[in-house]
């Protein structure tokens, strides 16, 4: 019940394409859903985050879509660029009082020039 399932494991798109990464969770008590971007040899960096009372959030070329009833959320990268090639992790935060973020297994994205 504490898992976050992420798909696909890897993704290749052409420059300008719109890669979509999906995550699903079981625990309806999760109250915060961030996405992280990680380059090789670096720590994860926060990209964008959403709370379950919002269905969509956009920040620049990155959009999160959130479906509370289906317990799913996804990351869309508009007009993808080769510099977006990285590993992306979704995560979920349990409710206040517990602190351990639960991470998905990651999606390795490659954007072809």
């Amino acid at each position: 019940q504490q898992q976050v399932k992420q798909s696909p494991q890897s993704l290749i798109v052409q420059k300008g394409g719109i890669p979509i990464i999906n995550c699903a969770y079981e625990n309806t008590a999760f109250d915060y859903f961030p996405w992280y971007q990680q380059f090789p040899g670096k720590g994860p960096a926060l990209l964008i985050a959403i709370r379950p009372d919002v269905s969509e959030k956009k920040e620049g070329r990155f959009t999160i879509s959130f479906n509370k009833s289906a317990k799913q959320f996804s990351l869309h990268i508009m007009d993808s660029q080769p510099g977006d090639s990285a590993t992306y992790f979704c995560a979920a935060r349990p409710p206040a009082g517990t602190y351990k973020y639960i991470f998905g297994t990651g999606t390795r994205l490659k954007v072809l020039a």
């Binding site: 670096k42 720590g43 926060l46 985050a49 351990k100 973020y101 991470f103 297994t105 990651g106």
Partner: protein
């Protein structure tokens, strides 16, 4: 602002040895969490420190221990190293229940 810093960058140890990893949180942050990231996997929560106390712990054995100092910096200690402890160890800092920021990690290799 230097952000979250970790040392050392890389470390090679042999089985049975002990290791200490260090983390300095982002300025203004008082909470430090440690994660283990195995190759090709997402980070796994080890524990979190706040006010020099371990506040919560993930599913890791007692060989993993930590400490937080009055200046909010933190150490992660791993005793009796196993081959399976080879991973990237990430430190993340935050303030109260706000967003956490990750450091670059320490790559530990156990031979």
């Amino acid at each position: 602002d230097a952000g979250v810093t970790q040392s050392p960058t890389h470390l090679i140890k042999t089985r049975g040895q002990q290791v200490t990893l260090r983390c300095s949180p982002k300025s203004g942050h008082d909470t430090v969490s440690w994660y283990q990231q195995a190759l090709g996997q997402g980070p796994q929560f080890i524990f979190q420190y706040y006010e020099e106390e371990e506040r919560q712990r993930g599913n890791f054995p007692d060989r993993f221990s930590g400490h937080q100092f009055p200046n909010y910096s933190s150490e992660l200690n791993v005793n009796a190293l196993l081959l399976g402890d080879s991973a990237l160890y990430l430190c993340a800092s935050s303030s109260y229940y706000n967003e956490q920021f990750f450091g670059p990690g320490t790559r530990l290799t156990v031979l």
